[in-house]
């Protein structure tokens, strides 16, 4: 299970990579592995305001559909257009080419509610 250092993680298996005031958001290796082959992703709209832990996107696999929650509050600045035609990028590259969207975060302090790689690893061990 790949859990890159330097990212923030949620209990719902989203990750966020902070670059200044921008957070890139996606789902973790664990999430995509549990979902199986991903066939469809519905992304938020650019300009949409999201709330931490609020609904942000939908991801569907052959097996089921799941909601994706926002790791931070803020405004969506960019979405990964590639996923419309190639949702399999989430399976192939969950932390890079398969990212979902980028957002301008409004409260950096919200990261206190998130886990670092070591804590997320421990969290996953507790689930199995």
């Amino acid at each position: 299970m790949e859990i890159p250092a330097g990212l923030f993680y949620t209990k719902d298996h989203e990750w966020a990579r902070l670059e200044g005031n921008t957070a890139y958001v996606g789902i973790t290796d664990y999430a995509k592995t549990s979902l199986g082959d991903i066939t469809f992703v519905e992304l938020p709209k650019v300009g949409e305001t999201l709330k931490q832990s609020g609904f942000s996107a939908t991801v569907e696999s052959v097996k089921a559909a799941s909601d994706v929650y926002a790791p931070f509050s803020g405004k969506v600045t960019q979405v990964n257009q590639e996923l419309a035609a190639h949702p399999e990028l989430v399976n192939q590259s969950p932390y890079d080419k398969g990212y979902f969207f980028a957002m301008e975060i409004s409260e950096e302090a919200e990261k206190a509610a998130l886990m670092d790689a070591a804590a997320y690893k421990k969290y996953l061990e507790g689930l199995s």
Binding site: G36, D37, T39, F40, E60, V62, K63, A65
Partner: protein, 333 residues
């Protein structure tokens, strides 16, 4: 049988393009010995099972008196007085009591589900793969025919049937030899294992119903659009109800729905004609071969091919149109 081995999409594609093996040991099988002239067996099944040629298979139903589907099954005519019935796992016990209740004296019924293993070998290369194991005579099996083949001193039944839409075979082998056959099949580098997930997407692309989802005791073969597997020229349990329903027209009909987009309709989602709810999705999935959402579901009202409907569930709305089955047509059946 697991949901998947390598991944549903890979297993689905491999079945359509090459050949997969599915472990279907959970299915139920009955062996029936009965006199075709005097037996009441024919009354229990919607198909004419007495006139079946030896070595043939027929798909049909067991109905209750109201015409509700107790089970869908394949009947194999093995010998003049011997049939095999292949039924769904969850319904095996109910089928057995229906058979016992209605079979006349002199019939010999044996539930062999726990003694018989079943492997489905499905895909365009399945004939070549099985010919290497069972011999070239496997190639003589036509669609919906069956035969006996000997392997490792055991009697096996092989039929050219399946649930994928591709050229394929179902192999019945004594349970204790099933693992050996599985291993032998997988030694052929063309064969890959496939699980329940791809079995479901493959069958749905063909519009094949799944018992407990698309067909059940609350629906008749007429409502499910499966009347071609009902022989009205003979007597069978449930016939009176079906004739009545045929005259009045079924209240609901199972329709096939296809979307233009990748989002999948799911089991239980509502089907809408504009704002009016007209039905419910019974099976829905992303179609790996077509890369769009597909579904089946019961609707009240007569909707024709091409008509536009919506599948909705809370925040999800999927525009769909009514289509004919199968959804996917480029198979090697």
């Amino acid at each position: 049988m697991p949901i998947q081995y390598r991944g549903i999409l890979a297993e689905h594609a491999h079945t359509r393009q090459e050949v997969s093996v599915f472990d279907i040991c959970h299915m139920g099988e009955f062996m029936l010995g009965a006199d075709p002239a005097t037996s009441s067996f024919d009354r229990i099944i919607t198909q004419d099972v007495v006139s079946m040629p030896l070595g043939s298979c027929r798909y049909g139903f067991m109905l209750d008196e109201e015409g509700g589907i107790i089970d869908d099954l394949i009947v194999y005519r093995l010998y003049d007085k011997n049939w095999m019935l292949v039924v769904n796992a969850a319904t095996t016990a109910g089928d057995e009591s229906q058979l016992y209740r209605n079979l006349s004296g002199g019939c010999c019924l044996k539930n062999v589900s726990s003694q018989l293993g079943k492997l489905d070998v499905q895909g365009p290369l399945s004939r070549d793969v099985l010919a290497k194991i069972f011999g070239d005579s496997i190639a003589r099996l036509g669609y919906y025919s069956c035969g006996e083949f000997f392997l490792w001193g055991e009697r096996c039944i092989v039929s050219r049937t399946g649930y994928t839409g591709e050229l394929g075979y179902e192999v019945y082998i004594p349970l204790e030899k099933t693992q050996r056959l599985w291993d032998t099949l997988l030694k052929d580098h063309r064969v890959k294992p496939a699980g329940l997930g791809s079995r479901d997407t493959l069958r749905l692309e063909m519009g094949y119903p799944l018992y407990g989802q698309d067909i059940d005791a609350q629906h008749t073969p007429l409502a499910a659009g499966l009347e071609r597997f009902v022989d009205f020229s003979k007597d069978f349990i449930g016939k009176r109800a079906l004739l009545k329903e045929r005259e009045a027209g079924p209240k609901e009909r199972l329709v096939c729905l296809v979307s233009d987009a990748r989002r999948a309709p799911r089991h239980g989602f509502g089907i809408f004609d504009g704002d009016r709810r007209v039905g419910t999705v019974t099976s829905g999935s992303f179609s790996p071969s077509l890369s769009v959402g597909i579904a089946m579901g019961y609707v009240s009202g007569n909707y024709r091919t091409g008509e536009r409907l919506f599948v909705r569930e809370t925040a999800v709305e999927i525009p769909v149109r009514v289509t004919k089955k199968p959804f996917y047509r480029k198979t090697t059946l």
